[in-house]
Symmetry: C2
Subunit: 452 residues, 2 copies
C-alpha cells in the first residue's frame, strides 16, 4: 500500500486491447433473434445499421481485440484516467475500509461514453460513412458521440428526448458546441416521429421513440449509420479500458479489491469496470465480489425477468435475451436518466444468470445523500448514475465500520454531475421523492413481452 492519493499512468499505458469476456465464459451467450423469423440474426441483417468491424466485434469470441492506433491516439486526450483513493471520504465515514474510485468524468464530454463513441466513429469513418445518427436521453451519450464525430469529420445528428431537450439545455448546447445537429424527439422529420406528434402534439418523448427516429433515419439515408451507447457486446467491449487500467493502478497502490461496485443502466460502465476483474477472478488471480447497483425505480436485474424482448419501446429492434421489465415499462422520471432503461445488456444478463455477479437496487435519495457526501469530501460532484454505485460503497464502508473489516472497495465514478445539479438542489431542499414501484406496473409491462 502506498501513501499516494491518485495513481496516474502516462499515455503509453493506455491498453492496447479491449477484453472480450465471451472468450472466457463456460456457456456462450444466447443469440440475438430476428423479430420476423425468431431465428438468429445474420451479420447482413445489421449492415444497414452498423459498420462491418462492429458487427464482427458483436459476435466475436476472441479474447482480445486490438485497439486501432487512431483510437488510442484520441484516447490520449483524457486516458488513462486517474484511479483515486477516497481518503477523505473514508475519514468522513470513520471506516476501516479502503475506498478507491476510477474517475471517468474527466473525459471531454464528462462521462465514460467516449470510450466507445470514439471507436464507433472511427470504424464508421474508415468505411466511408459520412454521418452518424443516434438518440439520447439526458445527453451523455449524444455529447460523447458528437465529440467523437468531430474528431473524425463525421456529421452527427441526435434525437434528444424532448423532456430533456427542454429541461437540460446544457447538454443540448454541448452537442452543438461539438458541431452536432440536435432535434427534440418526437420530431416531424421522421415518419415515426410525425406519427407520435399526430398522436400527441405535446409529447414529452421517450428513449423508445427517439431510437425509432434515429434507426429510421439511418435506414433511409445513404451513407448514414446508427450508433448505440450501451447494451450491445461491442459497446461493453470498448468500455473494458476502464477495468484494464484499474487493474494496473490497483497493483500500483499495492491492493487487490475485495469488492467491485458499479451502477447499471444498460450496463456499459459496469461491464467496463467489472469484466477485466472477472477475468482475473475466473483465472484465480483475485477473488472480488462483483456487485451491480440499479435504481429502485428501474430494477431490471432485481425485479425483472430473463426473456427475449425488444430493445426499444416501439418494438422495431431485433430481440435480445435479457433481464427486462418489459419494453413497454416506463420508469419514473428519476434524475439518473442514464439508468432509466427497461432492459439490461444481454451479455451482462447472461453473466447474471451464471451467478457471476450480484445486484442490489437503490432509492435516489440515498444516492444523492452519498453523492453529496462524496462531493464535500472528495471534491468531485458525481453524476446521479455514479451516485448509485457510491451509495452502495458508502453502505458497505459503514458495514465495515461495524465489523472492523478493512475491506478494499473499488468503484467507478462514471461521470460528473455538472448538468445534473437541479437534482442535487431538489435533494438538498428536501423536494426529492422516492416513489415506490408497485408490482402490478411491472406485471402489466411484462404481459407485453413478445411471444416466440
Amino acid at each position: 500500500m502506498t501513501e499516494a492519493t491518485r495513481i496516474l499512468l502516462d499515455e503509453s499505458r493506455i491498453p492496447h486491447n479491449w477484453y472480450n469476456i465471451v472468450a472466457d465464459l463456460p456457456v456462450p451467450p444466447p443469440p440475438i433473434l430476428h423479430p420476423a423469423t425468431s431465428r438468429p440474426v445474420e451479420p447482413d441483417d445489421l449492415m444497414p445499421l452498423f459498420p462491418v468491424e462492429l458487427i464482427d466485434q458483436e459476435a466475436s469470441a476472441e479474447r482480445f481485440v486490438l485497439i486501432p492506433a487512431s483510437v488510442r491516439d484520441v484516447y490520449r486526450l483524457w486516458r488513462p484516467t486517474p484511479l483515486i483513493r477516497a481518503r477523505r471520504l473514508e475519514r468522513a465515514l470513520g471506516t476501516p475500509a479502503r475506498i478507491y474510485y476510477k474517475y471517468e468524468g474527466g473525459s471531454p464530454s464528462g462521462s465514460h461514453k467516449p470510450n466507445t463513441a470514439v471507436p464507433q466513429a472511427y470504424y464508421n469513418a474508415r468505411q466511408g460513412v459520412g454521418k452518424l445518427v443516434t438518440e439520447t436521453g439526458a445527453g451523455q451519450w449524444g455529447s460523447a458521440l458528437a465529440f467523437a464525430c468531430a474528431q473524425y469529420g463525421l456529421e452527427c445528428e441526435v434525437w434528444m428526448v424532448r423532456a430533456s431537450y427542454d429541461g437540460k439545455p446544457g447538454r443540448r448546447s454541448l452537442m452543438r458546441a461539438y458541431g452536432a445537429t440536435v432535434h427534440p424527439s418526437p420530431s416531424p422529420l421522421t415518419a415515426y416521429g410525425a406519427e407520435a406528434l399526430a398522436h400527441d402534439p405535446d409529447s414529452p418523448g421517450s428513449l423508445g421513440i427517439a431510437i425509432s427516429e434515429a434507426v429510421e433515419t439511418a435506414r433511409a439515408e445513404p451513407g448514414t449509420r446508427y450508433a448505440l451507447g450501451s447494451l450491445l457486446n461491442h459497446v461493453l467491449l470498448h468500455q473494458t479500458v476502464i477495468g484494464e487500467e484499474a487493474i494496473e493502478q490497483m497493483a500500483a497502490f499495492g491492493e487487490a479489491p475485495d469488492m467491485v461496485v458499479g451502477c447499471t443502466g444498460g450496463g456499459s460502465n459496469f461491464a467496463g469496470l467489472a469484466f477485466p476483474f472477472l477475468r482475473e477472478k475466473l483465472a484465480g488471480r483475485m477473488a472480488p465480489v462483483i456487485r451491480a447497483v440499479e435504481p429502485a425505480a428501474c430494477p431490471s436485474l432485481t425485479r425483472g425477468v430473463y426473456a427475449y424482448d425488444f430493445g426499444d419501446a416501439a418494438g422495431l429492434t431485433p430481440l435480445l435475451k435479457m433481464h427486462t421489465l418489459g419494453h413497454g415499462f416506463i420508469p419514473d422520471p428519476i434524475h439518473a436518466g442514464g439508468l432509466r432503461y427497461h432492459g439490461m445488456s444481454p451479455l451482462l444478463s447472461h453473466l447474471y444468470e451464471l451467478g457471476m455477479f450480484e445486484a442490489v437496487a437503490m432509492e435516489q435519495n440515498d444516492c444523492f445523500e452519498a453523492g453529496s457526501r462524496f462531493a464535500r469530501s472528495e471534491g468531485v460532484v458525481p453524476a446521479p448514475e455514479a451516485a448509485h454505485a457510491l451509495a452502495e460503497v458508502v453502505a458497505e464502508a459503514l458495514r465495515c465500520r461495524e465489523t472492523g473489516e478493512e475491506k478494499v472497495l473499488l468503484t467507478a465514478v462514471c461521470g460528473h454531475g455538472h448538468f445534473d445539479l437541479d437534482g442535487y438542489d431538489r435533494y438538498l431542499s428536501g423536494r426529492l421523492e422516492d416513489l415506490s414501484l408497485p408490482q402490478d406496473r411491472i406485471d402489466t409491462a411484462l404481459a407485453g413481452l413478445p411471444s416466440l
Copy 2:
C-alpha cells in the same frame, strides 16, 4: 521534444512553495492606502477581514512562501494538473507553431480558483475562524470557496449577483452541494443590501454591491472573515502553482515557450501562469513574450488609467493603485463574467507599468469562435474566460502559418465551460453581439476616480 500529448506529474511534484514575484522586482509596488487618511494601510486595519498569515503574505517580499502540508494534501485531489500539447488544434489550424495548454478545469469546482480558496480556508480555520463570507458573480469563485470550506469544516456564505443567481442556477446549486449558503444580492440581510433593494426592488445586483454585503457581514459577525478570489497579492501568490508546474512540464516536453498567453479579469489566473516564467526571464534562463488578453468590453489595461481607485463600486474598500476604468464603470454583460471587473490587480498593474508584459483586447465573438474550434479539436469546452486567451493563441498560430515560424505557445485553460453553454449556443446561432465601448463611457467613469 517528445511525442507525448499530455505530461502528467505525480503528486510528489506538487510545488512546495508559492513564488512571490515582489522579491524580484526592480521597484517595489505602491502601497495600499486607507481611504480616510490616504496613508498606507497597517496590518491591523485588515484584521477584521483577513487572518494574520494572509495579511503577512499580502505585504511579504520573501521570494518563496512555504505551502502548508495540509494545503498540499488537499491539492492532491487534482494537482498537479496536466500540461497538454494541442496537437489536434495545431493540425486544424495548419500552423507550424506548437501549442501547449495547462488545464485547470479538472479541479473540483472546475477552474483555477481552488488554488487560492484552499489556503484561504486553511489559514482561517487554523486561526479559529468559523465562517467565511464572499461575493461571486458567475459563481466560479463562490463554488471554489464552498469546496474549500467543506474541506476545513468552515461555514460558507456567498452573496451571488442576482442576475447570475437567477440565470446560472448550475453554479448556485454547485455551491449548495458543497454545503454553502447562497443569497441573491442585493439581499435584505445586510444594511447595504436593504438600501439597494429600497432604491430598486428589482435590482439585478452587481459585484460591487455583493462585495459590500459580504464585507459588511464579515465586519459585523464575530468569528467570521472575508475572502477574495482575485486582485490581491496573496491570491496571485497562491496561483503560482500553475506556472511552477508548467515550467517542469515544459521541460519534460523538451520545450521552452516563446510566448506565454493568459486571460485577465482581476488577474489571478494570468499571474499564476506568468509569474514563474517572468522569474525565469528575469534570470535570463528563458525569454518568452508574456501577453495578457482582456475583453474589449472591459479593457482596464489597454484603455484604462493607472491610478488609485476603489476595489468595489460602493467605495468601501481601501484604495488600490491599479489600471482601472473607474470603480463606477459597469461592463456590458459579456459571457466571460470572470473578466467583468473595472480594475486590474495592483501587482500586475505595477508590472505592466514596468514593461514586463504586453496586453491586447478581444471581442467575445472571436473568443467563442476560438473556444468552439478548441472544443472540436481538443475535446475540452473552455470557459469563455479561457477562450479569450485561446483567441490570441489561435491568432498567433495563424500568424505563424503566414511566416512559417515554429513558435512555442503556452497558455492556461483556466476552467471548463460546462456552466457557460448558453453563451456557446448564442454564438453558434449567430445571436451574440460585439458591443463597441465608446470612449465617453470610460471618461465618465474615470471622472469619478477618488482624489487623494
